[in-house]
Symmetry: C2
Subunit: 345 residues, 2 copies
Amino acid sequence: MAESDAQSSGTAPKRIRTITDLAKIAGVSPGTVSRALSGNSLVNNKTREKIEAIAREHGFRPNQMASKLRMQKTGVIGVAIPLGHDVRQQISDSFFITLLGYLADELTEKGYDLMLRRVIPAQDEDWLDRFIGSGMVDGVIVVGQSDQFDRIEDVADGYLPMVVWGNHQEGQRHCVVGADNRLGGKLAAERLIASGAKSLAFLGDTEPIEFAARYAGAREVAARMGVPIRALPTHLSPERTGKEIAEHLQEIEGKVDGIFAATDTIAVTCLRELRKRGIEVPGQLRIVGFDDLPISSQTVPPLTTVRQDIAAGAKGLVDLLLRRLAGEDTESLVRPPHLIIRETA
Amino acid sequence: MAESDAQSSGTAPKRIRTITDLAKIAGVSPGTVSRALSGNSLVNNKTREKIEAIAREHGFRPNQMASKLRMQKTGVIGVAIPLGHDVRQQISDSFFITLLGYLADELTEKGYDLMLRRVIPAQDEDWLDRFIGSGMVDGVIVVGQSDQFDRIEDVADGYLPMVVWGNHQEGQRHCVVGADNRLGGKLAAERLIASGAKSLAFLGDTEPIEFAARYAGAREVAARMGVPIRALPTHLSPERTGKEIAEHLQEIEGKVDGIFAATDTIAVTCLRELRKRGIEVPGQLRIVGFDDLPISSQTVPPLTTVRQDIAAGAKGLVDLLLRRLAGEDTESLVRPPHLIIRETA
DNA sequence: AGTAAAATTGCAATCGTTTGCAATTGACCG
DNA sequence: CGGTCAATTGCAAACGATTGCAATTTTACT
C-alpha cells in the first residue's frame, strides 16, 4: 500500500511533523489532537482512537520543545558534577559514577530525564547559574561540593529545587544529602587504633570539604587517644595517585602504622603499593578506607572501610528534590556511615 | 539611568524574565537584544554593551526552550543505555560507566549537553523511537546493543545521527564503534593455550552479541588447536554473579584449566572465588579477562586481559556522531583490541 | 418535539526566541 | 547641501504545542 504522493490516490505522502498536520488528516482541530494525545482530557473516545491510530501509523510524536515551552516545565533534572580540585577526579572515581547510576534509576522511575553536565568551575565561574537559568532543567542535583561550597550557598536562597550531595555544615543554607563524614572519620580512626595502630596518617586531599571533615573526625579521635596523626596529600587522578602514594610510603616507612584513606579508591591503590614494597597488611600497617565500593570486598586482603549507602543516598537526593519541586523547603539529610570490618584493620 | 517602574525609587523591583523585558529596559526592540546576546550579529557596540550590562546585572539568560524551539536544534545528545539482558548489568559494570564519563568529557568539549536515559526494552518496546522522536535530542548514542540489535537496525535507515557502541557484523546498517570482539576472543584463547591450558571455558552470558563474538573467536582458536571449550553462562548482576561462578567452579573443578571471562568484572569475581577455594592462579588455572578496567591491574595476581581503549572509543563515538549530524554517512569504526599480559595467564 | 444540561470540539492567544526584510539613522563625498 | 551607501534597528512572522472560553453537537428528559 504505499504512499504514492502528490495529487493522486492513497495515503498521505507527506510526513506528519506537527500536531496540525495530524489534525488536518484526522479532520479535527489541533487542539483536539493535543488533548487526544495527552490522554487525560475530555475527548470523545472514537475521536481519540482515530487520532491515536493515525499517530501510531505515522510514528508521530509531539515536539517536546514546543510542549515544554508552553508548559513551562521540562521534565528534566540536571545533574552537575563539579570538578574542582582535580579535573579527572570524579569521572574515574567509581563512587560518583555509581551514585550517578542510581540517580538515573531513581529519576527514570519518577518520570524525569537526566541531563548530565560536568563542570570545571575554574574555567567557568558561572556554571551553576548557567545551568539553573538555562531553562533546560526543572531542578538540579549537584554531585559533590568540590571547592564550590560558597557558590552553591549563594544560589541556594534564590533557587529552591536544588539538592547537593556532600557534607553538611552547621548553619549552611543549601540542602545536602550525604554521610556524616566527621563521624566516619572517627569510626575509621577508632578502628585503626583499636587494631593496634600507634601513629596515624590520613591519605588523600584534605581540601575538599567532605575529606576535610573525615580528617577532622579522625584528628579528634587521635587527639583524644593521644595518638599522632598527619595528613598525606594526594591527587585523585589515577595516573598520579600511584606515584604520590609510593613517595608517601617511602617517607613514612616505620613512622606510621595506621592509614586512613580518604577513599576506597585511594586505599586500594595504597594496598597495591604496600604489596610492592612487601609491607604486610594488617601486620605492619593497618588501613581503613571510605565508601565501601564493590571492589573493596575483593581486594587482598579485603578492605576494612567506612560504608556510605550509595543507593539510599541517591534515593534521598531524588526524594528531597521532588519535594522541593513541589515547593517544600526540605531539611538536609545526613546519614550515619557504618564501619565494615574486613581484614586490613 | 535606572529603571523606574513601580511607584518608587531604586533598582527595578521586577525580575527580567524575557528578552522583551530586557528590551523594554534597554529601550530597544527584542530583536536587537536577541542579536546582542547571541554575540555574532550586527549590533552597534555601544548598544551591545549596554544590553550585556543589564543582562549581567539582572542575571538574565534567554530561555533555552524557546530558543531551541525556534532554532530547531537542541544542543543535546541523548545517550541511551539499554538494559536488555540483565537489568542491573551496566549500571554496576564499570566499563559502561567509564565510557559514559569519557563521553561526557568529549561532548562537553564539543559544546553539547548529554541526556542520559536508561531503558529497559522489555518494558518499553518503543524506547528508541521515543528517544529519537522526542525532539529533545539532536542525535543519539546507544551504549551497548544488548539484545536490541534488530530494533536498532530498523531505525538506522531513517535516522542518520545515531552511533552505537557495540559489535560490528557483516552488512549491518547501523554505525557502530567498538572493539573487534572476535579478534579479542581469539587473542584470549591463544594466550590461555600458550600458557598451558588444555581445556577452556568461557565464563559469562553468551547472549549479548558482543559476548557471543568473543566466545566465537575463542571457539575458533580452540577448534583449530584441538582444545575443548565450553560456555559457563553467568548473569552480570553482582549479587548473583558470585554464587553462580562458585557453582560453575565447583562443577568444572579439574576439568577446565583455562578460563576466558567475558568481562574483567567477571574475571575479578572469579579470581576471588578461586582464592576462596584455594585454587592457584595461574598454576592450576589460567584466566584472561576482557576490557582492561582500572581494577584489573590491581588484582592479585594482576589480571591478564584483552584491552579495549575506552577513551578512544568515546572519542570515536562522538566524532562519528558529529559527522553524521553534519550529514555524512559514516562507516563503522572497529578498533583492534590488545592483549595485556600480566600474571593470570 | 422542545429544552436544558452535558459532552465535544474549535478558536485563538500564549510560551520566549530568532531572523528575513524593511525602515531608519548617520557617515561620507562631490 | 543633496544623494548614496552602509550600519543599525524595528517589525512581525515563524517555531509547535497547550488551554481557557465559546460554540457546537449529543444526550437526556419532560
